[in-house]
Symmetry: C2
């Protein structure tokens, strides 16, 4: 056993501060678990002057990441700067310099994780990234280890706290999307430029990572379909409730006859589904395996201490591997190369809300277009409202059908003169 | 890497069949993950004639566990017979014979796990027991690894599917305890002699295991207070609902100033708590850490395939350790010896339901006894009912108070001539 295992942190933002605080506060117990002291030797950041919520010796700080990457005394490099550049190069250079890696960088892992993991694996070095998905929630390691006996058939996550907060406020307090977003921003749950969250980029990276582990296959993140939540209205949320559903931004990965469906979009989900009661900034990942059945992992998906918990958990694992001479023990598990289905070939149920002329034969006309396209209807709800000036609002829920068929039908319906407007359509998961 | 890693299973019941089926069905992918074929070489059971749901070569079966324990070709011994005797001796002998151990035996781990783990650890052999708590739900490994950076402050589990099923039926269908138990028995969710489940023995073993891992301390299972659910009535469940609570059988472990509270009993839990929506035979374990905040693990707590998933996950971990020359990498983490608080010193909130004479001054008399014992009242609800012949039903919810004080007050209240009957009292967790 090494008496001390040295850590270098690149990126001294909120998660870096959280990880450092945890290592300080819980350091004694961590040393007992590992058999070595874990010591943060060096911290690199482009800004080392800014005041942080945690005190550190000025001599530990550097603006040059290579003072960590090239330090022969440092065993573990923790990358917390985010983004692909320059994080990817830092990590690759650190691996080549013999370092074990811990990273929380979802975008980098999703885009270049495979190459980085292979490089680390060939050198028998560890590369862990538990904090990249679900903040403090244990999910990567449970998938790679505890559930390794399963063929995983499905992973469905609420993996973006910002959008889950917005949707919760819309559902529970009747707020509009814009109001709820402003509220999230004022509380620091959403960034000034919220695009990454509300347009679904962030969950797309995360589900790409989860799918690659669950299905033992590389995933090209460009193949991950994603939609955001900006088009959701109170009407849709209210219809969802009437029909027994909640609306959530879901990150979905399913195995279908050896191919992968990977997609991020708002969806109706049954009120009785365990994911339906995941509210506010909480995250949860629901997993279906052919042995375990369904399991769910729930917790805080962000925040310095929660993400720091995952980072420190990874550091402890590397340290244990170092002390057992077993680094590189579990590396890349992508031993397959499964195709990703195009959205046309994905099957789902659909909620569709439209305004039509309120006169005889309209419903039949639309229903026959559905029929022609093999879209079978599970339920239909028509409301005629005086204030709409002779228009009717019709809400349809379909049975499961290929998206290609649904979209073709939708296009034909939109072209009907009696259809004033297709107001929204949302996929339905049960 | 070893081309083949040989497994011997002792105990060919439902979980053994499940594990074997998983190893057969998912064997190819498992071999890719491990780098070796996992081969079940031998299975021991006292009854090798009985028909099982899975086909095995007769030659694999033996009635003598020592044909496994002493087989030099077997690397991993999987113990699935349950109970302390003879499982404990089998495991100890297997460890001494150089075998790595996987066990699903909650009672044995709770009672003798510490000695067995130490013995395995000293010999650098693995001893895993993920299936002993929560069936297929990953919880032991997440606590020991992913959350290892945390000081765990609280673990609250719904870890007995039988009682959770009964309580769900009582709450959702208005059934009596006896009716719901009979229903559970007819579906195979409860045994003919249901004592172990309904009296809380089973969850007591499980929370002893979880507490020892969460708090890094040995736990004497005799120190775990446990109560069952037999005294629960429809009235209590209905009052719970009116007050915004569900009633669940909770297995609770809390760290209080360096000491441990460990207890199993029915409890009111707020409807908004993540555990409140865990219904039917599902299990969940809620964990609070000083870094991660609150996380919850949810899934099927029993059944051959779910428990088999955990057993196979453990086998895979041992196999990876064998191939990395790193067995014994993580062993016993009980490096502390924390005391267990007596129930007198445990603090909780209490629900109390009583029948009293319906006349002036009764409420004041009772309230003053509470006051004298420093029991502060959060809410009180009085119903006078004609059919009770001049009796009133009073329901109290206290603020948090030491159980000693509550029980002293209760005793004095019971002795009051105006109190006809204390019908029930139940602890409240928020």
């Amino acid at each position: 056993m090494k008496p001390t295992i040295n850590v270098g942190i690149i990126g001294f933002g909120t998660v870096g501060c959280g990880a450092l605080q945890i290592l300080q506060e819980n350091g004694e117990a961590i040393a007992m678990k590992v058999g070595s002291e874990i010591k943060v030797k060096r911290i690199a950041d482009i800004d080392i002057e800014r005041k942080r919520p945690i005190e550190v010796d000025k001599g530990m700080l550097t603006t040059d990441a290579y003072e960590i990457i090239n330090d022969p005394e440092i065993d573990i490099v923790v990358e917390l700067i985010g983004g692909v550049k320059p994080a990817g190069k830092f990590i690759m250079d650190a691996i080549k310099s013999g370092k074990h890696i811990v990273s929380a960088n979802k975008e980098l892992i999703a885009r270049e994780g495979h190459d980085l993991l292979l490089e680390a694996g060939e050198r028998k070095q560890d590369f862990f990234f538990e904090a990249s998905v679900g903040g403090g929630i244990p999910i990567i390691r449970p998938l790679k280890q505890c559930l390794a006996g399963n063929r995983i058939d499905e992973v469905i996550g609420i993996v973006n706290g910002t959008t889950n907060y917005i949707l919760t406020k819309m559902a529970q307090e009747g707020r509009s999307f814009d109001e709820a977003l402003a509220q999230a921003q004022s509380l620091g749950y959403a960034e000034t430029d919220p695009t990454n969250d509300i347009e679904g980029h962030d969950p797309a990276f995360k589900i790409a990572i989860l799918a690659s582990i669950a299905f033992n296959s590389t995933v090209n993140v460009e193949d991950v379909y994603h939609e955001g939540i900006t088009k959701l209205t109170q009407q849709d949320i209210s219809y969802a409730r009437d029909l027994g559903y909640c609306v959530k931004l879901l990150a979905i990965a399913k195995l279908r006859d050896g191919a992968m469906e990977i997609r991020v979009h708002p969806a109706f989900i049954s009120e009785s589904h365990p994911l339906a009661s995941v509210n506010n900034v909480y995250n949860a990942i629901y997993v279906k395996g052919n042995a375990v059945g369904d399991v769910m992992f729930y917790g805080q998906g962000a925040g310095p201490m929660a993400a720091g918990s995952a980072v420190v958990g990874d550091i402890i694992e590397v340290a244990r591997d170092i002390n057992s001479n077993a680094t590189g023990r579990i590396c890349c598990t992508c031993f397959e190369d499964k195709p990703v289905l195009s959205m046309d070939d994905v099957s789902a149920k659909y909620y569709l809300r439209m305004h039509t002329a309120d006169k005889p034969g309209v419903l039949a006309r639309i229903a026959s277009i559905f029929g022609d396209n093999e879209v079978s209807i599970a339920s239909v709800l028509q409301k005629s409202r005086d204030e709409d000036g002779g228009e009717a609002e019709i809400v349809w829920i379909t049975h499961e059908v290929k998206e290609r068929n649904f979209r073709t039908a939708l296009k034909e319906i939109e072209d009907l003169p009696v259809v004033a407007k297709v107001s929204n359509w949302i996929r339905v998961e049960d």
